[in-house]
Structure formats: structure tokens, C-alpha cells
């Protein structure tokens, strides 16, 4: 490279001649346009914008120009390089877009391939059904209470106004726990109902008491399509000042609406339970046929066996004797209680035809219920 020469005439420098610069510019632009892919473009980029490219070499010559000539030469080269870079960027963007379009097509997969890499689990529908009922009561201000399954006879029977010879005591076929001497007089049974939990709850403190108690209960029925010796009940009790049969009705209406749906008629049938008086059985209008199947053999209803009603459970105003046994003043407080069988609700609410399916633990039965019911 030559030293600065103040008398140097720029026109004399071949590389800075406008026609030479323009030609280099045009050749670069043409080379970019001709590049078929990003690799060729990269080569063209090196050739036309790299250190050894005509425009770069020409640019270096500017430093040797006399000051008065530098501006014009710089402008000339700058414009040419600007045009080259612009063409390069444009072509680069074009080719990248082409490549992306091609690659994304090549990388496409069949997203409908069957998947199931992570196995699904499920909770038992009776568990989630009990929780749903619990939640309905918890939202009303109730607490959830529980008690032991092997229970004292006093709690399962006596305190509930079922004395030793009460006919109702033989109605319920009870599993008796063996006493140390091998007899049946252990004073303990497998609880036949969740009602002893009510007594426990009452013994635990002064009213007001609002409690719901789901749990397993036992009776000596053989397993068949509609019976199981181990089944589940949910029981609720309210003890407070001024509790009436009307409060019982209101509460059950709310429960039914949350659990099954609105607009269904309830039938309240007088019945007999030693621990309540008055006592009632509650029937729910069949939510499938709404009674249309009754006396109509052409339209039989499986859900209600064409009866028009579905038995929901038993209930009543707590017998004052029960309050007394639990240490609650029946002159100040009154209460209501009711119990529902969960298996029957599950059968009705979810079209389960055979109770054995709830017992046997076949995963094909349980899986469709998932995590919530």
C-alpha cells in the first residue's frame, strides 16, 4: 500500500472509478440473486462483502486519498456497500423463509398417534360420592365426623333407643364381635349404621351440633346385585334450639338439588326408626321416567323398577330419649337426623346395574369415574 499522497488524483485510482465501483456493486447484487440456497449465499457473501471483495479493497484505497477527495470516494463506496448489504439481507431473508418452510414440512408428525405413556388412575366412585355429599354439608356449615367400625353395642343400639329386645334389633342382621370367652357378649358389633357417630358427636360437646358422617357399615346380607354385607352410609345430624321436621325437609331438599338436580318431587312417608320420632322415609321422584313408567308396561323404567319413586333414605326428628342418653337437655334442644345409602345413590345417579361392580375392584368399572364424580 502506498503512503498518503496529497497531490494524488482520485480519478487515477482504478478501483475507485465510479464505473468500476458500480460494476462491483452490480456483480454482488447479481451474485446474491443467483444464490440458490443459504450455502451459496454465504459464499457469495464472502466473495462480495468479505475482506478481499472488490468493494472492501476499494474502500481501503480511500485512506490514501487527499482529504478533498475522501468524501466523494467514501460516499461512492458507502452507497455501493449499502445497496449490496441490502440485497444480501433481502436474499438472506428469502432463502431462510424457503428453508424454514421446507424444514417444518419435513419435521411434521402424525399427532393422532395413540398416546398413553402415563397410566391414568382413578378414585372409587363411592369415595368421591361421599366427598361430594360432605362438601354440600360443609358448605352449609356442618362438620364431618367419623367413628370406629367395630363399635360398642351401647353406641350402635342402646343409646339409639334400641334396647336389647327391641324388634328393630333383630331386623338388622348384625355381625357380633366375639367376646374373650368366645360368646357373643363382647358388647361390640360391626356397626350396622353410621348413627353411633351421631351419639359420639353429641357426647363430644354442647349443641349447636351440625355434623355429617359418611362411613362403612355392615349387615349380614349375602352379596348379590342389590345387596352387599359391607356398604356405605352418609348420615347427618343437627341439634340446636328450635330444630323442627320442617328444617329436616329443607335440608334434604337442598341436598337433593345439589346431588341429583332440581325440579324433582320428594315423597315423605311416615316410617319407624327407634331413634327418631316422627320418622320418615324419603322417596325421590324417579329422575329418569318422572313417574311415566308407573302402570305403563310399554315404558318400563330400570332406574325405579317402574315404581316412579326411588328410595333415598330414612330420617326424622331425633327421639328425645336419644338426646337424654347423650346428655343433651331435650327440653332445650331438638334435632333431626337422616341417613342415606351411598350404593343406591351411585346406582341411580350413574346407572350402575349391579352392586357387585362396586365391590369387586375391577379397574374397568372404576377408571371411567376418574377423580371426581
Amino acid at each position: 500500500m502506498s503512503a498518503p499522497n496529497k497531490s494524488y488524483d482520485p480519478v487515477e485510482v482504478e478501483a475507485l472509478k465510479p464505473e468500476v465501483v458500480e460494476q462491483a456493486r452490480d456483480e454482488a447484487i447479481a451474485a446474491f440473486a443467483a444464490a440458490a440456497d443459504l450455502d451459496e449465499l454465504k459464499q457469495a457473501k464472502v466473495a462480495h462483502t468479505g475482506d478481499r471483495s472488490p468493494l472492501s479493497l476499494a474502500n481501503r484505497e480511500i485512506g490514501a486519498l487527499p482529504p478533498q477527495a475522501k468524501a466523494a470516494a467514501g460516499k461512492l463506496i458507502g452507497q455501493a456497500r449499502g445497496a449490496v448489504n441490502q440485497a444480501l439481507a433481502k436474499r438472506q431473508a428469502e432463502l431462510e423463509a424457503e428453508r424454514d418452510a421446507r424444514v417444518l414440512v419435513e419435521e411434521a408428525v402424525d399427532v393422532t398417534l395413540p398416546f398413553g405413556r402415563v397410566p391414568r388412575g382413578a378414585r372409587h366412585p363411592l369415595t368421591t360420592l361421599a366427598e361430594r355429599i360432605e362438601d354440600t354439608f360443609v358448605a352449609m356449615g356442618y362438620q364431618v365426623a367419623s367413628g370406629p367400625e367395630v363399635e360398642a353395642e351401647w353406641l350402635n343400639f342402646d343409646a339409639l333407643n334400641l334396647h336389647a329386645d327391641h324388634p328393630a334389633r333383630s331386623m338388622q342382621d348384625t355381625f357380633f364381635v366375639e367376646a374373650p370367652d368366645g360368646s357373643a357378649d363382647s358388647g361390640m358389633v360391626l356397626r350396622t349404621q353410621t348413627s353411633p357417630v351421631q351419639i359420639r358427636a353429641m357426647l363430644a360437646g354442647e349443641p349447636p351440633l351440625y355434623a355429617v358422617s359418611p362411613g362403612r357399615v355392615y349387615r349380614t346380607d349375602e352379596l348379590d346385585a342389590t345387596h352387599t354385607p359391607v356398604f356405605r352410609q352418609v348420615e347427618a345430624i343437627a341439634v340446636d334450639e328450635g330444630i323442627t321436621f320442617g328444617h329436616l325437609k329443607g335440608t334434604i331438599e337442598v341436598l337433593v338439588e345439589k346431588l341429583i338436580g332440581g325440579g324433582l318431587e320428594l315423597r315423605w312417608r311416615p316410617s319407624y326408626f327407634p331413634f327418631t320420632e316422627p320418622s320418615a322415609e324419603i322417596d325421590l321422584q324417579c329422575f329418569v321416567c318422572r313417574g311415566a313408567s308407573v302402570g305403563n308396561p310399554d315404558r318400563p323404567c330400570r332406574t325405579c323398577s317402574s315404581e316412579g319413586w326411588i328410595e333415598l333414605g330414612g330420617c326424622g326428628v331425633v327421639n328425645p330419649r336419644v338426646l337424654v342418653a347423650a346428655g343433651i337437655d331435650p327440653n332445650r334442644y331438638s334435632g333431626f337426623a337422616f341417613g342415606l345409602g351411598l350404593e343406591r345413590i351411585l346406582m341411580n345417579r350413574h346407572n350402575v346395574a349391579d352392586m357387585r361392580d362396586m365391590v369387586e375392584g375391577d379397574v374397568r368399572f372404576t377408571l371411567p369415574f376418574g377423580m371426581e364424580i
Partner: protein, 836 residues
């Protein structure tokens, strides 16, 4: 209680168009559980008529006797000519009146009848049996009618084939509804109609010349009415109407005297007993049994009596188990016809007993002798003691009317004095209990409808009727008022509850466990808790294993499974096996539930008083007798834990998954679980983990012992976990938010060679301790044994991540921490840096 509608109408003048269903609906709302309304005779179509057998030609050459008959059916066949019928029954003779269905008729089935050729003759109709007409299960051939009916008479009407029967399940408090009288009373109240009470009869007063009866136990027997009928014709049979009413009520007609006692029992609700007077030896006595006495009851069973049994006796000893079943020695004789003379012999003198026994004594006797009878069912629930005289009179009247007997003038009636029961009730109580506004007038009227005598104004003095022993306190009366006014008419309201506390921490935890396991791919099951020795043997438990100490049941459903579970595994593994058997091979199951662990010292739970709250000491004693019932969770796995697929190979389930399930539960509890190598049945001795929270063992996990797998017919490599949820749960736990450092992490890998027997958990805890506070996390990313590790050695490779909360760590700091970690591991476990 089966109630034929036609019979009910005899006592209540129900509206003519009222169907069985209509009546049932009314009764249901009044509290009677009408289970079904049976439609009788709707599937029979006539002509069904009385026929007179004119001739019988016994056909031979067939496998069974066949008769070719001509039967006079009057003008029912349109011609008046004898009807030609082929019949397979043989219990009739020429001249007998029978029931004939003619061509065009239909029998239940449905079996349309037409004239056809059979056994070489034309058979234009059929001679019917009771079973073919849907009247009962009588197999004794065709029906032979009493002679007085004219041929051609419509037999559908005659046999009362068309009717409706309400089947009512009577609750224990409504014993009076085990009678037509009781149901009729409810129907009358439900319809607001008057009742024709069948117990309102003219009865001659008691006198001193009736059959001699001595009641030695007036508590057990507070009423004994005896009447005698003589000159009874033993050949007399129950008329059709009586038989039909019994049949429709579900009682098989037997003989006239027995049929009459059953009929009156159904009608009035008073169980009766008929004795053959000639077979009773001397006066009747009512007393308790002496230990060792025996009695052969009507069913032919010789029974050993208990001192508590209440007996009817004569000079020979016991002749009946009071209120339950009569004895064989004094029963009415079956009539016997002399084949030569045709003379019928049998009982001609009958003593009718109508007594009242104490309900509890009868209930216990029926239970003790496993002999629930129609009589005991009624006495247990309470029979109207004031109906005894009327019932006896009714039976006497029927014996006189139907059997041609003569009522003796003697009337025995022994009655223990009954105190008059009155109940005081605040007239406003029904309103307060129901939350409705009835008012005093309504309350009084409803109680009167029930049969009570009511006097008073604000406080009512109520005397319940003799047939309602269940009405004993004011709330019983409240129930009567509210049910008759209609439960449907009580306005529904919501109580005002105090603010709720929501679920307890433990309840929330139990839900989390289920959600977490289901989220991890486990499916919940609920097994029965019944187990037997076989279950423990299958698990390979030692003879002295604590889990063999069980709570036993006196009356298990299955004698092979008399105990309650002490572990969830038998039920869970049973469910696993059942699933595998049904072709579900990749399984992850879980169950949560209680196990039952007897107390060290077995005790009896006391029967506490019910007239007051038990003391705290009494309740403590009661609870102390109950077995411990901790809540457990268990899982069982087999097959692939992660499925194979087009993505590649899956992963078989194994011991590690079982332990992982325990970690899932621990995470739901928010506690840290540590794992220790252990040996514990039923697990594989080399693949069993003891699970600890702190120093407490909470459960076990791992692969099952191959012997257990074989014994229980489980798939190979089945794994399981069981732990105690109560032990894992910590109440009041609260997590403190950890500081999160924004400085960069320094990662260091370390590979250690240890003896093959060294536990990874020990190496890890040594590394953690040595690494100190700068260690953010540690991960074991490779384990291998083999030549490179050296014989009897294994290599464990860890990634340690270091980070400080307040600065960027220098390389030297990170290396120093790593060296310190390795040093502690070396000291504790003999670990050597690989390549060192």
C-alpha cells in the same frame, strides 16, 4: 301383611272406582309401606265354568293315566251337550263338580284353550287345578268343588279370581296393622270414612264354668280366653270364600279348624290356637318351663326348653310354646275317611285359646328356638289384649256356622288388671316438633281418629287405644298427628347454622392421599375386611406374627373368614388377582381403610345406662374395650408401570414403584420419608423397604416374596406397599417458604466406588452432610456393578449442585464442598473416588 282389596272393602266403604294403586298411595302417605299391589286374575279369560263329571273312561297304553271324560257344563258351551275333555288328573269321580275352561278361554301363561285332538280323542277344554288358575301352589290335582254349585255357573266369580292384593311391610311399631282390622282403620282415617270394626261383637260375659285354666305367670300371660265348641263335624271343609281369602293372604288352607283360627288372626290380629279337647289332659296351665323339659311342636321338632320359655301345659306337661307354636299331642286331628263306610272321623270337640302374652318373652322364645311364626310375629309387635274375647267369639261363631258345632256356654276369661295409661301432652308440641301450625282442635281430632281418648285443653290427657301399645310418650302422639296431617304438608325451612369449620386437617390429608395416588396412576378399590387363617398363611406370616392376632366375629358370612383384617394386603391382592384373571394385566391398585387390632388385654364393652349421659369414666371404659382401628393405605402393582408403545419400551413395575408410592403418600402428608433395608413378611427378603418418618416405622414396601406370589397365585414380581396413615399424618404442619437464590449454580459430578452391600441411602446422607449448606441438590444418576467397579463393588455417580444465597460461588469453593462431601462419604461408607 297381604291385604286383598275385596276383603278390605268389607270394613271400609271405599269409593267404587278406587283401584289397589289408589288405596296404596293413600296408605303409603299415612305410613304403611305398601311394597307391591298384585293384580290377580287379570290374565284369565273365560268361559270358565262349573262342570259336573258325567262319565270317566280310563285310557290305557299311555305312560301316565289319562281319562276321557264327558262333563256337563250346562248351557255354557252354547249347545247344552256334554263337553268332551281329556284329563291327566285322577283325583275326581263321576258326579264331582269341577272347574272347566272352554275353548276360547285363556289361562295364565298365557295359555289359550282350543279344541284339539289328543290321546286319540277330542279334548274341547280343560279341567283346571288351583295352580293353573293362579290360586296357589296346590299340587293335589284338579279342584273338586262342593256339590251345591250348578253346572255352567261362572267360576271366575265363584272362585273370586279377580282381585287386587296390597302387600304391606309392617314396621315393628305398627303391630296392629298385621290385621285387616288395623289396615282398615288406617284406610278409614286416610279416606275420612267410618270403620266397621270386626272386633265389635256381642260376647257373653265370663263365667265360672268354662274350661279350667290356671295362669301361674300373670306377667308373661295377662289374658287368657278359652271357649269350647262341641259336635264339630270332622268332615266339614272350609268354604271357598274362606279358602280364597287365606290364599290371597298367603296362607295355605289346611283344615277347617286351623283355617278358621288363621282367618280370625288375619281379620282381628289375635293369634288363636285350637286344641282337640279330647286330647287335652285336665286343666290348662300357663307357666314358665323347667330346665330340661321338652316339647314336640306342631312341625314335628322336639325342642329342649329353656327356663325362660312360657308354656301352655296340661297334666301331661307342655302342650304348646306360648304365642309361638302349639304342641303335637293336642293338635286338631286330620280327618280320616273310612274307605268302606265313608264315615269321616277326626276332632269333634275344640278348645279355642285367645291369649295375650308379653312381647319380650315371645320375641326371645321365637329367637331362641329359631321359630318365627305368624303368631310370634304378632305377639312380638303387640296384640290388642282387649280383642281376645271378640276373636274367640268369632272363631266359635264360624265353627258353629260352618262345622255345625255347638258353642258351650262356659266362657273362660282370665285377665290381669291393666293400669290405664294416659299420656300428658302439651297441645302445642306437635306444632313445635313439626314446624307447622296445626292448632289444638286438629291435634285432638287426629288423636281421636287413631282411637285415643282425649281430654283437656292446653295440656291434653290422652289415653291410647288398647291396640296401640307403641304409643307411650308425647312424641309418639306427635308422630300420629303429623303423619295423619301429612308429612308433605309440613313447610320446608333451612336451619340457621353457625359458621362452619370446614374439613379437618386429617380429613383434607385423607383426600390428598387418594388424589395423589390416583394422579400417579393408581386405581382405588374397596375390599371386604373379612379374613381367615388362609390369608395369613398365604402371606407367609409366622405363627407368632402380631398380625395373626385378630378381632373375631361370632357370626361371619363365611366360616373360613371369621376375622377382621389386620392388614389391607389380603383384600388388595385378592382384587389384583381377580383383575388379572379378567385379563387386566397392567395394574396399579390402592386402598385406604381401617384395620382392626385387638387391645393387648381383651375386654367387654360395658352396656351403659340410657336414661342419662354416661360418665367420662364409663365412656373411657367403653372406648378402651374397642380394638385399635388405625387407617392404612396400601398399593399393589403388577405388569407394566409405564406402558410400551410406538414410542418405545415401557417400564415394568417393581419394588421401586412400591416405595415411590409411599413417597407419594408422604408428600401428600408433607413429611419426609426415609427408607431402610429390612426383612418383613410378605416381602422379598432382599427387596423389602422399611418406611420411616423420623424414627418411627410407618410401613413397608417392595417386591413380594416369591413364595407368597406362588401361594397367592399372583403374577411374578408383584409389588406392594402398606403404611399407616395415622402415623404419617402430622397435624398443624406449616411450610416456611425457602429463600430462592438468584446466583448461578455450580455443578460437580462425583463417582464413588463402594462395597456392593453399602446402601445408597447411607452414601447419600454422608454426601449431604459433608457437602454442607452450599449443597442445593444431589442426584444419583448412575449405578453400576461389574468389572470397571471391581469385584464385590458398585459405582454410584452423583451430580451435586452447589449454590450460595449471597454470592456467586468460586470454582474453589465448589470443589472444596465436593471434597468435603466425598471425605465424609469415605469415612462413613468406605467410598473411594472412582479413578482415584
Amino acid at each position: 301383611m297381604r291385604v286383598p282389596l275385596s276383603w278390605l272393602r268389607e270394613y271400609v266403604d271405599l269409593p267404587a272406582g278406587e283401584t289397589g294403586r289408589d288405596v296404596a298411595a293413600r296408605l303409603v302417605r299415612a305410613g304403611l309401606e305398601v311394597e307391591t299391589v298384585e293384580q290377580l286374575g287379570t290374565d284369565i279369560k273365560g268361559p270358565l265354568v262349573v262342570g259336573e263329571v258325567l262319565s270317566i273312561d280310563e285310557l290305557s297304553g299311555f305312560k301316565k293315566p289319562i281319562r276321557h271324560c264327558f262333563v256337563n257344563v250346562g248351557s255354557a258351551n252354547g249347545t247344552g251337550e256334554p263337553q268332551e275333555i281329556v284329563c291327566g288328573a285322577t283325583n275326581f269321580q263321576v258326579g264331582d263338580k269341577v272347574v272347566v275352561i272352554l275353548p276360547g278361554g285363556v289361562l295364565p301363561g298365557p295359555f289359550p284353550i282350543s279344541a284339539r285332538q289328543t290321546y286319540g280323542h277330542t279334548s274341547a277344554g280343560m279341567i283346571c287345578s288351583a295352580r293353573e288358575l293362579g290360586m296357589g301352589d296346590d299340587h293335589n290335582g284338579i279342584i273338586v268343588l262342593p256339590p251345591e254349585y250348578e253346572p255352567g255357573t261362572d267360576a271366575i266369580e265363584l272362585l273370586q279370581l279377580v282381585d287386587e292384593v296390597l302387600d304391606i311391610a309392617v314396621t315393628p311399631d305398627r303391630g296392629y296393622c298385621l290385621s285387616m282390622r288395623g289396615v282398615a282403620r288406617e284406610a278409614a282415617a286416610a279416606y275420612g270414612l267410618p270403620l266397621a270394626d270386626p272386633a265389635l261383637l256381642d260376647v257373653p260375659p265370663a263365667n265360672s264354668y268354662g274350661y279350667l285354666v290356671k295362669v301361674a305367670d300373670p306377667v308373661g300371660c295377662d289374658r287368657f280366653v278359652a271357649r269350647t265348641v262341641t259336635g264339630v263335624n270332622p268332615a266339614a271343609q272350609s268354604p271357598i270364600w274362606l279358602q280364597r281369602r287365606l290364599q290371597k293372604s298367603g296362607i295355605r288352607p289346611i283344615s277347617l279348624a286351623v283355617d278358621i283360627t288363621n282367618y280370625v288372626m288375619l281379620e282381628v290380629g289375635q293369634p288363636l290356637h285350637a286344641y282337640d279337647r279330647e286330647r287335652v289332659d285336665g286343666p290348662i296351665q300357663v307357666r314358665r318351663a323347667a330346665e330340661g323339659e321338652t316339647l314336640t311342636t306342631l312341625d314335628g321338632v322336639k325342642r329342649k326348653l329353656s327356663a325362660e320359655d312360657l308354656l301352655i301345659c296340661d297334666n301331661s306337661g307342655p302342650i304348646g310354646l306360648a304365642g309361638v307354636m302349639g304342641g303335637a299331642t293336642t293338635e286338631i286331628l286330620d280327618p280320616v275317611t273310612d274307605p268302606e263306610t265313608g264315615v269321616v272321623t277326626g276332632t269333634t270337640e275344640i278348645i279355642v285359646e285367645a291369649a295375650h302374652f308379653e312381647p319380650v318373652a315371645i320375641a326371645r322364645a321365637a329367637k331362641r328356638h329359631k321359630l318365627p311364626s305368624e303368631a310370634s310375629k304378632r305377639f312380638e309387635r303387640g296384640v290388642d289384649p282387649e280383642a281376645a274375647r271378640a276373636a274367640a267369639q268369632r272363631a266359635v261363631d264360624l265353627l258353629v256356622l260352618i262345622a255345625g258345632g255347638t258353642a258351650e256356654a262356659g266362657v273362660t276369661d282370665i285377665a290381669a288388671p291393666h293400669p290405664v295409661r294416659t299420656i300428658s301432652i302439651d297441645a302445642g308440641l306437635p306444632d313445635r316438633v313439626a314446624g307447622a301450625e296445626y292448632g289444638r282442635e286438629t291435634v285432638t281430632r287426629r288423636l281421636q281418629e287413631v282411637g285415643c281418648t282425649v281430654v283437656g285443653a292446653d295440656v291434653l290427657e290422652v289415653t291410647p287405644p288398647s291396640w296401640r301399645p307403641d304409643l307411650t310418650d308425647p312424641y309418639d302422639l306427635v308422630e300420629e298427628v303429623v303423619r295423619l296431617e301429612g308429612y308433605d304438608n309440613v313447610p320446608a325451612r333451612m336451619p340457621t347454622t353457625p359458621p362452619g369449620r370446614g374439613l379437618s386437617e386429617a380429613q383434607r390429608f385423607h383426600r390428598r392421599v387418594g388424589v395423589a395416588l390416583a394422579g400417579a396412576g393408581y386405581v382405588e378399590i374397596n375390599a371386604y375386611p373379612f379374613v381367615g387363617e388362609a390369608a395369613f398363611d398365604g402371606l407367609g406370616l409366622d405363627a407368632d406374627d402380631a398380625r395373626r392376632r385378630v378381632v373375631k366375629l361370632v357370626n361371619p358370612l363365611n366360616d373360613a373368614e371369621p376375622a377382621l383384617r389386620t392388614t389391607l394386603l389380603p383384600g388388595l391382592l385378592g382384587a389384583l388377582r381377580r383383575n388379572v384373571g379378567r385379563g387386566n394385566t397392567d395394574l396399579a391398585l390402592f386402598e385406604t381403610g381401617t384395620v382392626f387390632l385387638p387391645k393387648a388385654e381383651r375386654k367387654v364393652a360395658p352396656r351403659l345406662p340410657v336414661d342419662r349421659r354416661p360418665t367420662e369414666e364409663q365412656l373411657a371404659e367403653l372406648n378402651a374395650a374397642l380394638p385399635d382401628q388405625p387407617r392404612r393405605v396400601a398399593v399393589a402393582l403388577t405388569g407394566e408401570r409405564l406402558p410400551s408403545g410406538w414410542w418405545g419400551k415401557g417400564a415394568p413395575s417393581g419394588w421401586a414403584d412400591a416405595i415411590e408410592a409411599a413417597r407419594t403418600v408422604a408428600a401428600a402428608a408433607g413429611v419426609e420419608l426415609t427408607v431402610r433395608q429390612a426383612q418383613y413378611a410378605p416381602w422379598h427378603p432382599g427387596r423389602c423397604a422399611e418406611l420411616l418418618v423420623g424414627d418411627e416405622v410407618v410401613g413397608h414396601a417392595g417386591e413380594l416374596h416369591p413364595r407368597v406370589i406362588k401361594a397367592m397365585h399372583l403374577p411374578e414380581r408383584t409389588s406392594a406397599m402398606e403404611l399407616d396413615l395415622d402415623l404419617v399424618f402430622e397435624d398443624g404442619r406449616r411450610v416456611s417458604g425457602p429463600p430462592v437464590s438468584a446466583y448461578p449454580v455450580a455443578t460437580q459430578d462425583v463417582a464413588l466406588i463402594v462395597d456392593a452391600g453399602v446402601h445408597a441411602a447411607d452414601v447419600e446422607s454422608a454426601l449431604r452432610e459433608g457437602a454442607g449448606e452450599l449443597l442445593e441438590s444431589l442426584r444419583l444418576f448412575d449405578v453400576f456393578t461389574g468389572e470397571q467397579a471391581g469385584a464385590g463393588k458398585k459405582s454410584l455417580a452423583y451430580t451435586l449442585r452447589f449454590r450460595a444465597t449471597d454470592r456467586t460461588l468460586t470454582a474453589d469453593e465448589a470443589s472444596a464442598a465436593r471434597e468435603s462431601a466425598v471425605a465424609v462419604a469415605a469415612e462413613r461408607t468406605g467410598a473411594v473416588l472412582r479413578g482415584a
